[in-house]
């Protein structure tokens, strides 16, 4: 996002927008939303559902989502499972290593809010949003693959409505 913000300041003179900027906007958004490379990164139970989603039956590849092992190649990280305090610092680091623009999907109750471990889980981080910003929360324990796909579509909607120049007006 920081990257886009910097771009913002450059094209501020088109404050009211024009056709070209809007079209470019659309194109860039389309590119970002239809090629979200996901980081190969599973945490817990939800990771199995995430794998099932990328396997043949549900097929993430339809949406242009392919797993990349390195955070540097990834656009999106799916926090799939319980985040423990020992792991939290590592996730923060991984997030920092990803190049902008980057998106986070928090998958499952555990990473949304601690899930079933909220009360006695002394070693569980109660919600990944305490350390990194989250774009889409997918509820469920674990969410079905359809739910994850819905989350991805929601994220695509979000990206579709992003704009490199309109943002500063609001």
């Amino acid at each position: 996002m920081r990257y886009l913000n910097r771009l913002d300041s450059k094209i501020k003179q088109y404050e009211h927008g024009n056709f070209v900027v809007t079209s470019v906007d659309k194109f860039l958004n389309w590119a970002r939303l239809s090629s979200m490379w996901q980081m190969t990164f599973g945490l817990a139970c939800c990771a199995i559902e995430m794998m099932a989603t990328s396997a043949s039956h549900y097929d993430f590849d339809r949406f242009g989502i392919i797993p990349r092992p390195s955070p540097r190649h990834a656009d999106m990280i799916i926090i799939s499972g319980t985040v423990t305090l020992k792991m939290a610092t590592r996730i923060k680091k991984l997030y920092d290593q990803m190049p902008e623009p980057k998106y986070i999907i928090s998958m499952g109750s555990c990473s949304n809010c601690g899930g079933p471990y909220w009360e006695h889980g002394y070693h569980v981080l109660k919600g990944i949003d305490r350390i990194i910003p989250v774009d889409v929360y997918v509820p469920g324990c674990p969410p079905r693959p359809e739910a994850l796909l819905e989350g991805v579509l929601k994220l695509q909607d979000k990206i579709r409505n992003q704009s490199t120049y309109k943002k500063n007006k609001a």
């Binding site: 305090l85 020992k86 939290a88 610092t89 601690g114 909220w118 009360e119 002394y122 070693h123 981080l125 109660k126 305490r130 350390i131």
Partner: protein, 159 residues
Amino acid sequence: MNSNEIYNLLKSFFPDAVIDYKDDKPVEPYIIVSAKEIDKICLFLRDEENLQFDYLSCLSSVDFDNDNLAAVYNLYSFVHNHKLNIKVIVPKSDPVIKTVSSVWNTANWHEREAYDLMGIIFDEHPDFRRILLPDDWEGYPLRKDYKVQEFYNGMKVPY
């Protein structure tokens, strides 16, 4: 061999270290031994011809009562197909047990876990540090009087 026979055999070899034998249903029978000589007893159990307990199924730590911690060893023999439970009770003020990781390799991680979660110290363990929790964690979570720390590394721990 059943547990009672094993108890008698052990008692004859280690009269001081073997403390008690409990067999009241539905509790599985177990033998209580001293923390100081558990390693010798285990070595004996493993190598004695009639016993040959070559498999440590499980090693559990228990917050036994207000003053004591316990470690429970569930043993199994592939050769003779018999089981045995051993219990070691130590006071909370000085929870030190001799390690059995030289007898069974399994014990290595189990003992580290018992230390990590319950705070039982295993003497002469080759690689003694926390295993599950981070190294700078405070307290032993499975003790009944455990109070969770408020912050860890700047992250709030309770909900």
